[in-house]
């Protein structure tokens, strides 16, 4: 198979994402009072409602509505004042009622947009391209089909938009450094309930086929779930990954979910089709499942694009099917072929009255929105003068952003950048290795601020900073204490270091001569000897200067 970069020279990939996010930070389920918790004993959190017992009725969780409205506002969606819940029928034991309560043609949030900044290697995957006339509308209707909705469900079309009126497909904006910015349209974000978890025992790979028995855990059943559907505006696996990362940062900042792709509280399916560059008609798409990490999302799509290109280039046909990404074997395999659309018999749920969101409610949600990652990144870049890439990374995680603001309080420019470096390199690296959250680590912003001060004052070297950080994280001690106890404080007093320089030069007369003879490189050896003689406490830069002065 060809490499992705090569394939994308000839082919344009058209990608749309469907992203499910469990609102894990809520206390209770979507339609009953059961505690939201997936980690407990199976079926510890169930009641007549989420078990679908005869006679039970749903009552919507108002906080969940608040959360989805905030998600919509944060992704530039139009909030629909009137929308309804629908019943989507299918017979499977993961849904106790044999229907899922979801939304119909009008979701709480319609027609949003997120801008992506694509830099570096990934930016090269999207060559300059002109978009054909009328493309936006053909794509919009294709995506409406993708979620299986018709506009004639007896419900009014969304406010402020005609049928499929998601706005024009935006053109990417190129910058001089080769990066580009592209708007990605969001079709909708709707509210639904999650299904129960099935555990298939004794079969192959935990699948139902040939399983000796299948157990159902209804703890997850009824978990509030929001599904975001993008327009098919994405063109590269890198864009898909960036979209997912950006969305995750926004949802984390809103505090509506723990957004764990590993645990499945944030899940992504990808739809992808290919067409020759310059063509406007859409190719046949496949749907990809099991994209449960950013890497899987990228690699799965990249593989599928290359696979489709190979099939098409050999004169083959792409079938509309659902494929499963196998990360271990780096390939996608067919799960099921969709010959006909499933008939879910969608109709408005008669147990749940239509929602009429008031302006006051929407305004309150808007007023409660926290500073979003993009705005925060811009502020960090502007007010603290740190690098944009660092600002973006720090601003993306609410806890880290708050930590940075405390640690860099009152600092700007180089001093703030030192704090940012410590957070991006030392702190992030430590947390990843320890598998701990920032909160769990117990590291305080004041500790990082002290460490940054020691670095800025040249009291320690950056190598030492790493050692001090590790010790600080392990012991909880303040950096000053660690530096003092270990005698690490860097000596930057020329008077104190000159005797060491004299001693080393006396001992290493040969190397000293080599330097005088024009071999500049040998200075490194001499600095090393000085460092060794000072047991690491001397300032290497100062040693360097003193050595050069003594030898000239």
């Amino acid at each position: 198979m060809k490499e992705l970069a090569e394939v994308l020279k000839d082919w344009e990939a058209v990608i749309g994402l469907e992203i499910h996010t469990e609102l894990t930070t809520l206390d209770t389920k979507m339609f009953c009072g059961c505690t939201l918790s997936h980690d407990d004993e199976p079926n510890a959190h169930v009641c007549p409602v989420c078990l679908g017992l005869p006679g039970a009725l749903p009552v919507p969780n108002e906080r969940a509505i608040e959360y989805i409205v905030k998600a919509g506002l944060a992704t530039n969606c139009q909030i629909q004042k009137r929308s309804m819940f629908y019943r989507k029928h299918y017979f499977y034991p993961d849904m106790a009622k044999n229907f899922q309560t979801t939304q119909g043609p009008v979701a709480f949030c319609m027609h949003g947009r997120l801008d992506l900044d694509v830099r570096g290697r990934g930016a090269a995957e999207r060559p300059e391209c002109a978009f054909g006339e009328g493309e936006a509308s053909s794509l919009a209707s294709a995506s409406a089909n993708a979620v299986g909705l018709s506009a004639s469900m007896g419900e009014q079309m969304p406010e402020g938009a005609s049928c499929g009126g998601a706005g024009e497909l935006g053109l990417p904006e190129r910058f001089d450094d080769g990066s580009y910015r592209v708007p990605i349209r969001i079709l909708r974000i709707h509210m639904e309930e999650d299904a129960a978890k099935l555990n298939h025992l004794g079969g192959e790979e935990g699948r139902i086929t040939a399983a000796a028995e299948s157990l159902v855990d209804y703890n997850r059943c009824g978990t509030p779930l929001i599904e975001l559907v993008t327009e098919p505006d994405l063109r590269t696996p890198e864009e898909a990954r960036l979209f997912m990362e950006k969305l995750r940062r926004i949802f984390l900042t809103l505090g509506i979910s723990d957004c764990s792709m590993e645990k499945g509280s944030m899940r992504c399916d990808g739809n992808v089709s290919l067409r020759r560059r310059g063509e406007t008609a859409l190719g046949t798409k496949t749907e990809l499942k099991n994209l449960n990490s950013f890497k899987a999302l990228h690699d799965g799509l990249a593989y599928e694009i290359c696979r489709q290109a190979e099939v098409l280039e050999e004169g083959g046909v792409i079938y509309q099917e659902t494929r499963h990404w196998e990360p271990s074997r780096k390939r996608t395999v067919v799960m099921r072929v969709k010959e006909t659309a499933d008939d879910y018999r969608l109709f408005p749920d008669p147990d749940l009255a239509p929602f009429d969101l008031s302006d006051e409610f929407i305004d309150r949600c808007a007023s409660e929105l926290p500073e979003l990652p993009d705005a925060k990144r811009d502020r960090f870049e502007g007010a603290f003068g740190i690098k944009r890439a660092d600002a973006e990374q720090i601003a993306g995680d609410p806890a880290t952003a708050a930590f940075f603001e405390q640690a860099a309080d009152g600092l700007a420019g180089k001093a703030a950048q030192v704090v940012a470096n410590l957070i991006v390199n030392e702190l992030a690296g430590y947390l990843k290795a320890a598998g701990a959250s920032l909160e769990e680590s117990g590291i305080a912003p004041t500790q990082v601020a002290s460490l940054a001060r020691l670095l800025a004052e040249d009291a320690i070297s950056s190598n030492q900073a790493h050692e001090v950080f590790e010790a600080m994280a392990e012991s909880g001690d303040d950096p000053e204490k660690i530096v003092d106890e270990r005698g690490m404080r860097q000596v930057s007093d020329a008077g104190a270091l000159q005797p060491i320089v004299d001693e080393v030069l006396a001992r290493c007369a040969d190397q000293a001569q080599q330097y005088r003879d024009g071999n500049q490189k040998v200075i490194g050896f001499l600095v090393g000897q000085c460092m060794k003689a000072s047991r690491g406490s001397g300032n290497p830069k100062l040693f360097n200067e003193l050595l050069r002065a003594s030898l000239s």
């Binding site: 007549p48 078990l51 679908g52 017992l53 005869p54 006679g55 039970a56 009725l57 749903p58 009552v59 919507p60 019943r87 029928h89 017979f91 034991p93 106790a96 009622k97 044999n98 229907f99 018709s150 004639s152 469900m153 007896g154 139902i208 299948s214 659309a341 008939d343 018999r345 969608l346 109709f347 008669p350 147990d351 749940l352 009255a353």
Partner: protein, 497 residues
């Protein structure tokens, strides 16, 4: 000492409060009446003697302790078997749930128990409330206490028969297309379908969620008013998103009379094909009585009422298909043995667990909701719904209430109506209220001169004017006399010891 069936619910509660007899004696008398009468009537699917006696003992202990007693203290209650009562089976008269035991209690049942009622047992119905005769019960038919060869109506046939037979003073039923008002009419008792949202549906096994409403049966209007108080007084049920606050004392204005009130009659309904002359004459006499008591009788039109049955047989089956989808034999209920796989297990459990009418309605609903068909029927039915609701709103600009038959005829014989569409037509006068949502009450007018069987009128009011319905019903009760216990049953067992 008195027979239990000679006392109304109000009289029983008053007697218990006054200490004329204990709640335990009442429970025993009611259980004895069931023992002696129900072999013939067949109203009960399950007698919960222990629960009834326990509830009675608690009331007697309260009284002994000098605690205040609730308003329906010691009143024997029968519960339609689609209502959950923890510790009892809730079968919906279906093989599908023949052994299903409730793990929680429906709000309506709990409120009646909190008001002091004694749960005598669970009563028969058409399977999952699909029917108008109680002949669709998977277990046994129920006989009309006035003529055992005849049906009690349905689907709440057991609830109506148990009250008419004097086995209990009050019962609960549910009404999706007339399932309270039509059997009340066939059995000659008072039956009320409150406005949709007035009574919580939580814990009542759903048939058509947008149509179902729980209501009481009693032999007097006052008893029904007391039951309505019990059902609504605690306020809206937070467990039912469609229930509404309804803070009204239903007993307060019972005897206000109808002077100056405008009562509508609908000529098209009085001339409808299939309306038995004795029923028509009885309803005309009722109109005359109300006029004599000072009401003004006015003709009004409900032009789109003929669309109600059609709309009902779209909306009802569609919602039923969805609501009954959960009965798949996996978690509870009838489960087919030795199946090859999951799909076969749920398919065969459903094929063998549901009766014919239950399957017919679900298949109809599955068809009506399928893509391509949905727009044509479901959407049209919703439009019809809007038009019928508007018809009532217009009519209620001219009148305060509307008087019409509750059922086109008196009780028919078992097996007499074998064509399901014929059966569907027996809900002609009741269905439009489930479509529009407002309340209605079936009031006995004595016996029809041709059949010698109970005949009723139905009164209809605007949404949440249910209290006024009871005032009109009381006016008719004064004129026509309170509903007697069916003579064949009266004083057969059930003596208060």
């Amino acid at each position: 000492m008195a027979w239990i069936d000679s006392l109304s619910a109000a009289q029983i509660a008053a007697g218990v409060v006054a200490g004329e007899f204990g709640a335990t004696e009442v429970a025993r008398a009611s259980l004895d009446a069931v023992e002696c009468r129900d072999a013939e009537v067949g109203a009960f699917l399950q007698v919960s003697a222990d629960a009834a006696l326990e509830a009675a003992a608690r009331i007697d202990a309260s009284r002994a302790a000098g605690d205040p007693l609730p308003p329906l203290a010691g009143v024997p209650l029968a519960i339609k078997d689609n209502m959950n009562l923890a510790g009892t089976r809730t079968t919906c008269a279906s093989q599908m749930l023949a052994s299903y035991e409730s793990v929680y209690t429906a709000t309506c049942v709990q409120r009646m128990l909190d008001a002091g009622c004694l749960p005598i047992g669970k009563v028969n119905m058409d399977e999952f409330a699909f029917g108008s005769s109680t002949e669709n019960s998977a277990f046994h038919p129920t006989n009309n206490p006035w003529d055992l060869e005849r049906v009690p109506g349905g689907s709440s046939g057991g609830s109506a028969a148990a009250v008419a037979a004097g086995e209990v003073a009050l019962s609960l039923g549910s009404d999706t297309g007339g399932s309270i008002r039509q059997p009340a009419s066939f059995c000659g008792v008072v039956g009320m379908k409150p406005t949709y949202g007035a009574v919580s549906r939580y814990g009542v096994v759903a048939f058509g969620s947008s149509l179902d409403q729980v209501g009481p049966f009693g032999r007097t209007v006052e008893d029904v008013a007391l039951a309505m108080n019990a059902l609504t007084a605690p306020g809206r049920d937070p467990l039912d998103g469609t229930s509404q606050e309804f803070a009204v004392d239903f007993c307060e204005h019972l005897d206000d009379g109808v002077t100056g009130r405008r009562v509508g009659v609908v000529p098209a309904l009085m001339e409808a094909e299939g309306l038995a002359p004795e029923v028509r004459r009885a309803v005309e006499r009722a109109a005359a009585q109300l006029e004599q008591q000072g009401a003004q009788v006015v003709e009004v039109e409900l032009p789109h009422l003929d669309a109600a049955i059609a709309a009902y047989y779209v909306i009802g089956p569609a919602e039923a298909f969805s609501n009954l989808a959960r009965f798949d034999g996996i978690r509870y209920g009838y489960q087919e043995e030795d199946c090859a796989n999951l799909a076969q297990q749920s398919a065969l459990s459903r094929a063998h667990g549901f009766g014919r009418e239950a399957k017919r309605r679900q298949m109809l609903g599955a068809y009506l909701l399928s893509s391509g068909v949905y727009d044509k029927y479901y959407y049209a039915a919703q439009k019809a719904r809007t038009m019928i609701t508007r018809d009532y709103a217009r009519a209620f600009e001219q009148v305060d209430a509307i008087l019409m038959p509750a059922a086109p005829r008196t009780a028919f014989k078992h097996g007499e109506l074998s064509d399901p569409t014929q059966m569907y037509l027996s809900d002609l006068y009741t269905i439009s209220l489930n479509i529009a949502g407002n309340g209605g009450i079936s009031v006995p007018l004595g016996l029809g001169e041709d059949s010698g069987l109970p005949v009723s009128a139905q009164l209809v009011a605007p949404a949440f004017h249910d209290r006024e319905l009871l005032t009109y019903a009381r006016a008719l009760e004064v004129a026509f006399g309170a509903a007697p216990v069916a003579p064949a049953c009266a004083q057969k067992g059930g003596e208060l010891a």
